[in-house]
Symmetry: C2
Subunit: 312 residues, 2 copies
């Protein structure tokens, strides 16, 4: 992937996957394509465009191959997808995705509830997926997302040692990147500042980004904490769509608009054009007329005299 | 003031002042008293209960003396009020307030628009207020709140040197405490981390707390940044009420509920009981049925297995 602009922080937009997967409405395929194009137009260079999963379980994602194909037409865009197992990874490879993410919950009850596998089974699957990639799709990046790394709605507290142990196993499986995910929005900055350095000490450069949810309003504080311990990749979703099936009424992922403002105001280049990002929000709103969009910057606007780092 | 519990962080609840002052509804006096009692019952030991200001300009605050009198009946409560000038400071002293805050905008156009004084006039007033306190009300604490310290909706960018200069002037006026206020919610963590240490270097122990607004969703990230540079007092408002007259649709102060969760999750004792805080939110909701209350924790609830630092 070539980037037109050197950035300090990579924002990986997950709205078309984590967002659309969690809302009730089904966005029409053509609208998804328009939205993804608008996101790329705003300067987002990595987008998780969908999941390859059972269309019965998640009809919102039934058009994933077509959406990937659209993403591949956008120059410079890193097209990422989520897959829960080997079968769907195979479909993702065939569709031509540049990157696949596998959700590996540190909490075993969450893993079972989410993808009906125990730890032993998901680990075996990850090994098979990496093997397939190595043999037939060598350019594709594989990311393990350590879900519930900061706590779980089913298990409750998730021991930090368990997170690091699963990180080590994923490194041993030879995935490329290991992310830490606050799947249900229970994490706090102190935890973030302990876990990322521990993971990096354990798996080195395979230590990846932060996937944060704003369920308890802590999302940007947690992002700041991650930033301060050297995290340079952040998942977020436009309009904060996503929700959490275990926390009715609560919002989902951290809001791309507010995250970009945080980073740009701190002098960190994201490569994102805020005006165009707000245009992409309009496209999203057209595609999901029944859903609430979150975020503060879109209502409040940029401060008077504000110059984003990317434009300096 | 005696505290039953040693706390790491003092949360100064400003909802009854900054919150009620900014919403359209007028909360009846008896409801204000019930709310303040519920806040104190939740463990908040410092509450800004109102403003002494022109009742024509702010009818919501016309009952301030009666509300102060109620606050004074609550054992251990530090009763704070805001005053814009000498005349109203006199009324606050007579009412028996323990602490008075004077809003001193670093942006002169904001100061003029807010309290119709220029810098020279407010500085003269602060000197007179301190003199009156020293002569007749020696126990009362005087706080200068450096409003628009991180930017202004009228002036735009506020130079950091101007903030420090005004801090030095306030120290020379011999106020007890100098707060930095992100009045219109434009600040970012990098700014916070520069300004508080600079202010502390300039005025030493008179350097006070952070008064943050969540207008652009950055409130808790800014609070974390302040915490990391040694700030131990935070203003916040229950339900995040407050709004900002210059940013329609935007929320006001940082939300006490979410701030308490942030701090307690990080292992910092606030002395606040979260369950009772949510009870106080119900009292607030009864008193302001037409207003939107903000905050994520109240919807999402505490994480499974969560034990706040205050109860450890």
């Amino acid at each position: 992937m070539e980037e037109a602009l050197a950035v300090d922080i990579l924002i990986s937009e997950v709205g078309p996957r984590d967002g659309l997967q969690s809302v009730k409405s089904v966005m029409p395929t053509e609208q998804k394509k328009r939205w993804i194009s608008a996101l790329a137009e705003a300067g987002l260079t990595e987008i998780e465009v969908g999941s390859f999963v059972s269309p019965r379980a998640l009809p919102q994602m039934a058009d994933c191959a077509e959406v990937v194909a659209h993403g591949l037409t956008i120059p410079g865009l890193q097209v990422a997808v989520l897959v829960p197992n080997l079968k769907y990874a195979q479909m993702a490879f065939e569709a031509g995705a540049h990157q696949i993410s596998i959700p590996v919950s540190v909490s075993e009850p969450h893993l079972i509830s989410n993808i009906r596998k125990n730890h032993q089974e998901i680990i075996a699957d990850v090994r098979e997926i990496v093997k397939l990639r190595n043999e037939r799709y060598p350019g594709v990046e594989i990311e393990a997302g350590l879900a519930t790394a900061f706590g779980c709605t089913i298990q409750g507290v998730v021991p930090e040692d368990d997170v690091i142990r699963m990180g080590a196993i994923m490194a041993d499986c030879d995935v490329d990147t290991i992310n830490l995910a606050d799947t249900v929005g229970v994490g706090n900055p102190a935890q973030i500042k302990r876990l990322f350095p521990r993971l990096r000490a354990e798996v080195g450069d395979k230590c990846g980004g932060a996937h944060l949810h704003n369920t308890r309003g802590q999302g940007l504080a947690n992002a700041l904490a991650a930033l301060e311990v050297g995290v340079t990749t952040f998942d977020s979703s436009l309009g904060g769509i996503g929700g959490c099936p275990y926390a009715p009424g609560a919002t989902g992922n951290i809001v791309t608009e507010d995250l970009v403002f945080l980073l740009e105001a701190m002098g960190l280049k994201t490569g994102v054009n805020i005006d165009k990002l707000l245009d992409a929000r309009k496209v999203l709103a057209q595609g999901l007329p029944a859903e609430t969009l979150y975020g503060y910057l879109p209502d409040a606007g940029l401060p008077k005299g504000f110059v984003p780092a990317t434009l300096q």
